[in-house]
């Protein structure tokens, strides 16, 4: 972590004062945007297997664009979001980005979410020398294009930094793990981190008692749960994506097994909250909608509006967490680059972004390491009494929240 909570809150307050003023009070006095709209094009998985999360990004983008226009748009012009449905298909995302550049002739590009679709969009952006800011790209080593900018502060080497952070935290628990089971989907963006966990655990002298991989889309987690139970590790690193975390928890519950420490790489946040057996589950995050994150007025205002709109849209989870925060940050990055360069020139924006830091609701982002990633601003959250709360690093913990091991606080 390169920034501490105090400097974040100070910076956030400054940005927030600017942002919230713009979002609320000042909106009424902002100059009405006029002229030809600045068109920002992108795709999202509005249908298909990734669409549950796609709706989070859609809602976030709608809120941001609406508020951006209320405070004067970009360069005094209104902002129009040209959004297409990539149906959760990376190949379709490629075609649609091609359309956005050549047929729709959008001024700027904003990325889809999910690594596969972002890679597709990145290829098109590179072909046309467009700058691409994207939401949640999971494999920094694959981000080769120098005009792409990640909004998810994963750091350049998450396969090292993420397990190190989680094991640092567990070392403070009353029962630090001496053995580990690493079970993982072979989905690329979680698999390489699971392989990194093997190395980090080995370096720390934690004995690996089980390593299992399954294909994405696996339905039967009973045998995997049985093997975990038989290995009985102190800590399970679950390279699960989406529902897989719930499926393994459910399968373990059916054979009467409750793990001691258990981490899920990319869980489905809402279903995990609703499963009683998930109490104590750990995951990584860049933002949760509780203090100190919401001490930033921009973040607080966004959380408030998002909750209202998500409830109105009938979404089962109305909390702002990693996906919505990364999405919001992507728009913040675009706005910052346009404002700073006073134009829509892709090369100028890219050069500015590589040389400067951008204040976002997840913290200050920089883009000057491998794949234009910067600091790993990840935190660890835990399900406690039906809520996700950040427990690590301690300065980012929710008020009064501490790491719990089977319901007992560290």
């Amino acid at each position: 972590m390169s920034i501490d909570r105090r400097s974040f809150v100070t910076a956030a307050a400054a940005v927030g004062a600017l942002g919230t003023g713009a979002l609320t009070g000042r909106a009424a006095f902002a100059q009405q945007p006029a002229g030809k709209p600045v068109r920002v094009g992108g795709t999202l998985a509005l249908t298909g297997p990734l669409s549950a999360t796609g709706l989070v990004h859609k809602l976030t983008g709608e809120i941001y664009v609406e508020q951006l226009n209320q405070r004067g748009g970009l360069l005094g012009r209104p902002v129009e979001w040209v959004l297409k449905d990539d149906q959760s298909k990376p190949d379709l995302a490629r075609t649609l980005y091609e359309q956005l550049v050549t047929a729709d002739k959008v001024d700027l590009l904003i990325g889809p979410y999910a690594t596969g679709a972002i890679l597709s969009a990145m290829g098109v952006a590179q072909r046309y020398n467009k700058t691409l800011v994207h939401h949640t790209f999971g494999i920094p080593s694959l981000a080769k294009y120098d005009q792409q900018f990640p909004a998810w502060s994963l750091g350049p080497d998450p396969e090292k930094s993420m397990p190190a952070m989680v094991l640092d935290m567990l070392a403070t628990s009353p029962k630090p793990p001496k053995t580990i089971a690493i079970v993982t989907s072979k989905f690329p963006s979680v698999h390489f981190v699971a392989l990194g966990v093997r190395e980090v655990a080995k370096q720390r002298g934690i004995k690996e008692v089980l390593f299992l991989e399954w294909d994405f889309g696996n339905r039967d987690f009973g045998p995997i749960a049985g093997r975990v139970k038989e290995a009985n590790p102190d800590f399970i690193w679950n390279g699960a994506i989406g529902l897989e975390g719930n499926q393994l928890l459910d399968a373990m519950k059916k054979i009467d097994y409750a793990p001691l420490h258990h981490f899920y790489h990319v869980p489905a946040p809402a279903p995990m909250l609703k499963a009683p057996e998930a109490n104590g589950a750990l995951a990584t995050t860049i933002f949760e909608d509780h203090p100190p994150f919401t001490d930033n007025p921009t973040a607080a205002e966004f959380v408030k509006v998002y909750r209202e709109r998500a409830a109105k849209a009938g979404m089962p989870d109305t909390a702002v967490e990693t996906q919505a925060a990364a999405s919001f940050s992507a728009w913040q990055i675009i706005e910052a680059a346009v404002v700073a360069t006073k134009g829509l020139d892709d090369k100028a924006m890219a050069a500015w972004l590589r040389a400067n830091k951008v204040d976002t609701i997840q913290g200050k982002l920089r883009f000057n390491e491998r794949g234009n990633f910067g600091d790993d601003l990840g935190k660890v959250k835990q399900v406690q009494n039906g809520k996700w709360v950040v427990v690590w690093p301690k300065e980012w913990a929710a008020p009064g929240a501490k790491l719990q091991t089977r319901g007992v606080a560290s």
């Binding site: 669409s51 709706l55 045998p223 049985g226």
Partner: protein, 286 residues
């Protein structure tokens, strides 16, 4: 590699049987439709998920016991099945084209599910999920037991009905040689409508089982197609016990593979088994 304990192996076999029973239940209607009506009904999977979502809705928001939703879902789906067959015969859809038409219906139903319940995950919280039986070191979760009992019971009932009742014999005769059956007074059209209704009702029952044991999202319709088709082909078209037996063979094979080797090998082993059986005994295993 550590060899798994006997308890772990036995628990895996049970898990495979439970999963296999659901493969069998899903495959039963598909097999009858394909074998006796000459319709490759891909919409069967979409109907099953529609049944699962209705179960979720009726149980979560109307407070109806999930098993009691069968009283609504079975007749409703019977009517849907009748309507589907009427449309397919009215427009003289060929067996191959039925694959395309029912794929289209699947996409429409998926869109309807997403429009109604959104793409977010939905989980039916029922009291059944909290219960499990224990026999020695082995655990038998109640939702999976219900699926197994329904799968075995319904497959046996359909097998008995087709084999031993006049109605069943008439259906088999119509499927075998429609003109000759008609010459003996069999009303082929009425029987086909009835059989299509039964198949859709079976999809509804499978949907209730899916809702009891799995988290729902519209796109998961497609996750079942490959393995259930394998169970249907292994079991033999139009054979009521075939999908159940083949489903259990696949389920147990996959579960034991996951227990003994890497879980990612499971699909490879089950589909290798399918190819082997089709080579050795073309057509079916059951």
């Amino acid at each position: 590699m550590n060899f798994p304990s006997a308890t772990l192996l036995a628990q895996s076999v049970l898990a495979g049987l439970f999963t296999g029973a659901l493969y069998g239940l899903l495959g039963l209607g598909l097999s009858l439709s394909w074998g006796m009506l000459r319709q490759i009904n891909l919409a069967h999977f979409a109907l099953a998920f529609l049944g699962a979502y209705l179960t979720y809705e009726l149980s979560s928001h109307r407070g109806i016991d999930p098993l009691l939703t069968l009283a609504v879902i079975v007749p409703l789906f019977f009517v849907l099945g009748v309507a589907l067959h009427w449309v397919l015969t009215r427009f003289r859809v060929s067996p191959f084209n039925s694959l395309l038409v029912t794929f289209g219906i699947t996409v429409i139903i998926e869109a309807l599910l997403q429009w109604t319940w959104t793409a977010d995950y939905r989980k039916l919280e029922s009291s059944y999920a909290e219960h499990k039986l224990q026999i020695g070191p082995l655990f038998l979760p109640v939702p999976e037991l219900i699926t197994l009992v329904l799968g075995v019971g319904i497959s046996l009932a359909v097998w008995f009905a087709l084999r031993s009742t006049d109605l069943g014999k008439a259906m088999r005769a119509a499927a075998e040689d429609a003109p000759i059956a008609a010459a003996f007074g069999v009303n082929q059209n009425a029987l086909a409508l009835m059989l299509s209704g039964l198949n859709a009702a079976l999809a509804g029952v499978a949907g209730v089982c899916i809702a009891l044991a799995y988290t729902l999202s519209p796109s998961q319709i497609y996750a079942w197609i490959g393995v259930v088709f394998a169970a249907v082909m292994l079991g033999g078209l139009g054979r009521p016990l075939g999908p159940l037996i083949a489903g259990c063979v696949i389920g147990v094979t996959e579960a034991v593979t996951m227990t003994v080797t890497a879980p990612s090998w499971a699909p490879l082993v089950s589909f290798s088994l399918l190819m082997f059986v089709l080579l050795v005994r073309p057509g079916r295993v059951a």
